[in-house]
């Protein structure tokens, strides 16, 4: 009976070894596959403000977005864009005809609600800069996206009737922030949807008609329009230094905006009303341009709607918001959700209704300034 035991145990040992190998090998392969996949790495990258600037975004999703930003500059295309977005003043729809070739971009934009009654107005910018990309995909903004979001390639789809690659942007908490459709052939962005933190769609930009390659000549309006006065902007080499210097002489400029929007570029220009400073804040997806100039806001401009935002009275038109505070006029153009716009307005100086004594004191100073011939 005793010699029979090993005969019985040997098959069991082999069975155990085979079972262990069967379980372990696929598990190891699965772990290796997960480690090598792009998704975990961006989670680590996006979660940290500790990420150093300048490191190129890695991962397939970010690489695709980077290629798309370059294609938006290099490719020749023309088409019609439809832009629908939610703003603090309500929904807005814009239709824009776009023509792009060899670094020259011609856009003719109209408010969809005014097409029937208004003549198109065309302006010409003479600066040496032009839009770098399409639907917010520029090289600079893609670099910022890599610091604040996780890009995930989600497969293929269709946009404007063309095959497209779909890339999703997720926030560090995993919620969806935006979805891009990139033309499979040219990599030019065809569509972008942006969602707020409540998963609501806040903007949708898409080509409803697009053509690549051989284009018709540029629109004839380009030859007839004139340059708007004072459109020369001088970029500041160090935006943070500019902000510090101006704040030292009485300006009230923020170094960053609520919603995690750091300052990333600044420029100055001279107009008939004095110096204008343009500060741009962005996390790569939301872009806020803040134009600041000394003075007080003129009486209610035509076409602007007065609303309450951030606890203050401001004038809005689409994504533009204007108000005055502390002796400065602020004009904000925002590609951002109404939630972010409201937070930004609340964080910046505002003219509040003064008390009776303060109002009389201020009025006496103004009267004195009027009657004083030496001022």
């Amino acid at each position: 009976m005793m010699p029979a035991l090993p005969l019985v145990r040997r098959p069991r040992l082999g069975l155990l070894i085979a079972a262990a190998v069967t379980i372990t090998v696929p598990s190891l392969l699965a772990i290796l596959a997960l480690v090598g996949h792009e998704q975990p790495a961006p989670v680590v990258r996006a979660s940290g403000t500790s990420l150093g600037g300048g490191s190129p975004p890695s991962g397939l999703g970010m690489r695709l977005l980077g290629k798309s930003a370059a294609a938006g500059t290099a490719a020749s295309y023309q088409g019609v864009e439809l832009i629908a977005q939610r703003s603090v003043s309500g929904p807005q729809t814009i239709v824009s005809e776009v023509w792009h070739r060899g670094g020259l971009t011609v856009t003719q934009t109209s408010d969809a609600g005014m097409l029937a009654s208004s003549q198109p107005y065309v302006s010409y910018d003479v600066s040496d800069r032009s839009p770098e990309g399409v639907f917010g995909l520029t090289k600079t903004l893609v670099a910022l996206l890599g610091k604040h979001y996780v890009a995930v390639y989600q497969g293929t789809g269709l946009a404007a009737g063309r095959p497209a690659l779909i890339v999703e942007l997720n926030r560090p908490d995993g919620s969806l922030a935006a979805r891009f459709w990139l033309d499979k052939q040219t990599m030019v962005p065809l569509r972008r949807d942006v969602y707020d933190t409540s998963a609501r769609l806040v903007s949708e930009e898409a080509f409803v008609q697009v053509q690549f390659g051989v284009l018709a000549p540029a629109p004839t309006v380009a030859a007839t329009v004139t340059a708007p006065a004072g459109s020369q902007w001088a970029a500041a080499p160090a935006p943070a230094v500019l902000v510090t210097e101006l704040n030292r002489v009485g300006w009230q400029l923020p170094a960053a905006l609520p919603g995690g929007l750091p300052l990333y570029t600044a420029a100055r220009s001279q107009t008939g009303a004095g110096q204008v400073v343009d500060l741009c804040y962005s996390d790569g997806l939301s872009v806020v341009s803040l134009f600041v100039q000394r003075g007080t806001l003129a009486p209610k401009p035509a076409g602007w709607q007065q609303v309450s935002a951030g606890g203050h009275q401001v004038y809005v038109a689409g994504q533009s918001v204007i108000w005055s505070g502390g002796g400065f006029v602020y004009t904000m153009l925002a590609d951002a959700s109404p939630q972010v716009v409201t937070q930004v307005v609340a964080a910046l100086p505002q003219d509040t209704a003064p008390g009776v004594i303060e109002r009389i004191r201020r009025g006496l100073e103004r009267l004195g300034a009027i009657v004083d011939p030496f001022r």
């Binding site: 971009t105 109209s110 107005y121 800069r129 839009p131 770098e132 002796g327 009025g363």
Partner: protein, 192 residues
Amino acid sequence: MNHLGEQISALIDGELAGADLDRANAHLAGCGRCRAEAAELRQLKRDLRALFDFGGDDGLTGRLLAMTGPDLPEAPVPSRRLPGEQYGRELPEDDGRDKRPPRGRGRGPARAARPARPAKRSRGRYVLWSAISLFVIGVGTAAFTMGGTGGSASPGPKITPQLEMFSVEHAMISGDVPVPEPTEPTGGVTSP
């Protein structure tokens, strides 16, 4: 001894004359009772006169008006005078004649005429204070109105933001198309 009797009253009222007056005075010199009675009658007459004089003084209104002016100490203070003291020093103690100054002369009329000047002065002050008040109210209203707009004390230039220019600049940076003006559609042409 025959006392004066009803002649005392006539003596006090100044109705005796000639020999009657001489006899009455001679009797008073030697009769203490009649002298005392005559003194009481004079006192009673002064009291009655003082009562009528207080109510019929034409200068009372003027004195009251003068009390509102800065020369208040000059105004008479009736409460500090007892009845009968007002003209007591002017009345003879023993001749029985009423030497009260006639109305319209002496201190009475002078006192009545004096308040006219402070009244004019008061009206001037009223006008002055009214003018100052109107000036302060006017300037205050203007300051209140002018101080209601804008955020800084200095008027500063009135700014109408050049949205077209800003929109093109924003489009350069954001990679989006320029947004239209609030009142009319906008286009943008950009060149490198």
